[in-house]
């Protein structure tokens, strides 16, 4: 149960949402630290506790190896036998496998390569320089802790989402929820595709509630380079467009924080005065290439994102790019009546991938599913 939280991430990982927001239906956090962030093990325990409290018939240690259509529903083949059902909810998430560029195979053999699935802690790394690729939540967290272990760290930065941990005295995710951003629906967004591809924000759930943006990393001694664009003759070639990805992230953060300010003004919500923040500092001269054969870099950590694993899904519901075709969690209903999804990015709301965000989605999906079972024509 909660296998990816227990076994497929690094030791220091904590949830990005504060405890008071870590709220499953009828199962709210009741511990002593509402403003803290659960460790990965505590998240796994929370999910196990929820399974026990809800008496859900969970089958642990059972992997699904195939899902296919039958005449009136689906056959689910597992390592513990086959099940038949009329409806299926895919809740395996979007982060089952690491997503790494093809050229990783051409990285010189003397450089170790790790993904967040095999990285555990800095002491497992060879002494020497580390290139962390990707500056979303995973990348900034790993760059930070590896740098603190004393190793030189180069961080390759593409487009990213910058956020302060606290804004006007409150957790930034409090603002996201209170101001209504998290509740924005998939069918109201201007560019749903973009919203679904948005990288995770540069946040960490540390006990100090510290902001972990690029300025903080640079102050720790992390060296920034542009997006890793190509590998040529054993050299990593980085984009020269670093300044613009900083501008884009700063502009978007400023815009988001002003929507918080406007909301606070409108509703009279109590909050401290707006915090000043510095624009992301542009390095005097970011390196454009790095010789991976020189020995400077001993380890590459690929924090280049995750992708879902649908290898077991024997129903033709993926698009040309391997993404699930669904409308707000109702999977391509012509090809697969009774097939649903939950827990994918902006499935029905911006909060769809958060533990507490699943409740509203689940209620609506289950409503549709119940209608399907009762023989109603699909539709909302």
């Amino acid at each position: 149960m909660a296998n990816s939280w227990r076994h497929e991430r690094w030791d220091s990982l904590r949830l990005l949402t504060p405890n008071w927001q870590t709220d499953l239906p009828g199962y709210a956090y009741a511990g002593p630290d509402p403003d803290g962030y659960l460790t990965a093990v505590e998240v796994a325990d929370l999910i196990a506790g929820y399974a026990a409290a809800s008496a859900a018939p969970v089958r642990t240690g059972t992997a699904v190896t195939s899902l296919r259509r039958t005449e009136d529903g689906y056959a689910v083949v597992t390592t513990a036998g086959e099940f038949r059902c009329r409806t299926v909810v895919l809740a395996s998430g979007a982060c089952n496998l690491p997503s790494v560029p093809d050229w990783q195979a051409a990285v010189p053999a003397k450089v170790d390569q790790l993904t967040p699935f095999d990285y555990r802690a800095p002491d497992q790394l060879a002494d020497g320089g580390v290139l962390v690729v990707g500056a979303s939540a995973t990348g900034v967290q790993l760059a930070d802790e590896i740098r603190r272990s004393g190793r030189p760290v180069v961080l390759s930065v593409g487009e990213h989402v910058r956020l302060p941990r606290l804004y006007r005295g409150r957790d930034v995710l409090w603002w996201m929820a209170a101001s209504g951003v998290w509740d924005q629906r998939f069918d109201e967004l201007d560019d749903l595709d973009r919203a679904r591809r948005l990288p995770s924000p540069q946040l960490a759930g540390t006990p100090e509630r510290r902001t972990l943006d690029l300025n903080a990393l640079v102050a720790d001694g992390v060296e920034l380079v542009g997006r890793w664009a190509a590998l040529r003759d054993g050299r990593a070639l980085f984009s020269g467009g670093l300044r613009n990805v900083f501008s884009l992230a700063d502009l978007k953060m400023r815009r988001l924080l002003s929507t918080f300010d406007e909301w606070a003004e409108r509703t009279g919500a109590a909050a401290d005065a707006p915090d000043p923040y510095a624009p992301t500092g542009v390095p005097e001269s970011a390196r454009l290439q790095l010789d991976l054969g020189s020995g400077e870099i001993r380890t590459i950590v690929w924090a280049t994102g995750y992708r879902p694993d649908y290898a077991w899904l024997d129903v033709p519901v993926l698009d040309g790019r391997g993404r699930l075709r669904h409308e707000g969690g109702v999977v391509d209903s012509a090809a697969s009546p009774g097939l649903y999804a939950l827990g994918l990015p902006v499935l029905r709301r911006r909060k769809s991938t958060f533990l507490y965000g699943i409740e509203d989605d689940a209620r609506e999906i289950v409503g549709h599913l119940a209608g399907h079972l009762a023989g109603h024509v699909a539709g909302w």
Binding site: R227, A229, A230, S239, G240, N244
Partner: protein, 188 residues
């Protein structure tokens, strides 16, 4: 020409944004039509002077053509002991970058309903010419390029900053200059 009405008003910058949005939609189901080939043909004149002609290209599944042929002379200035029959090749990169970013600013402004009154920019490329003269420790190309926009528009300074940022994000020439590209040069 088209007018796009948005919450911020109606703008007329002369960019047919609707046609571009329609094209993006149409190309989703026909990605092969999106494959373009741009071409130029060059001929040595004398010294370091060459003439490059551009007219035909391929796209949307067939041969296409500009209304007229454009001819570009490239040479080097007198300080390079050349005849200066045209700008230097590396200056053409600045022409490409400035015109691409400017087109982007106009398109993004149109799409966002921002009326432009004037868009001007200067581009400076820092170039250590010891590289091309054979110094192995100096690169041949630009070390640094700086573009400075001066924009007068019905928009806040922040909206103008966002226009310029987005135009870089969607610029073909900005991408070509900031990211490596495979280049094959062969003798026919």
């Amino acid at each position: 020409m088209t007018e796009v009405s948005t919450s911020s008003g109606t703008a007329e910058n002369g960019v047919n944004v609707q046609a571009l949005l329609d094209a993006r939609e149409a190309l989703k189901s026909a990605p092969e039509a999106a494959q373009f080939t741009w071409r130029a043909s060059s001929k040595w004149q004398n010294g370091v002077h060459s003439t490059t002609r551009v007219q035909n290209f391929y796209g949307l599944g067939q041969e296409q053509s500009h209304k007229t042929e454009t001819v570009f002379d490239a040479d080097h200035p007198a300080v390079f002991a050349a005849e200066d029959n045209g700008i230097t090749p590396i200056e053409y990169l600045l022409v490409g970058l400035a015109s691409c970013l400017t087109a982007g600013v106009a398109s993004v402004a149109q799409n966002r309903g921002i009326q432009l009154r004037s868009v001007e920019s200067t581009v400076e490329g820092q170039h250590d010419i010891r590289g091309i003269l054979g110094d192995p420790d100096v690169r041949n190309g630009y070390n640094d390029i700086k573009v400075t926009f001066t924009i007068d528009a019905d928009a806040t300074p922040e909206e103008i900053e966002a226009l310029v940022a987005q135009s870089q994000k969607r610029s073909a020439v900005f991408d070509a200059l900031t990211n490596p590209t495979n280049v094959t040069v062969e003798v026919a």
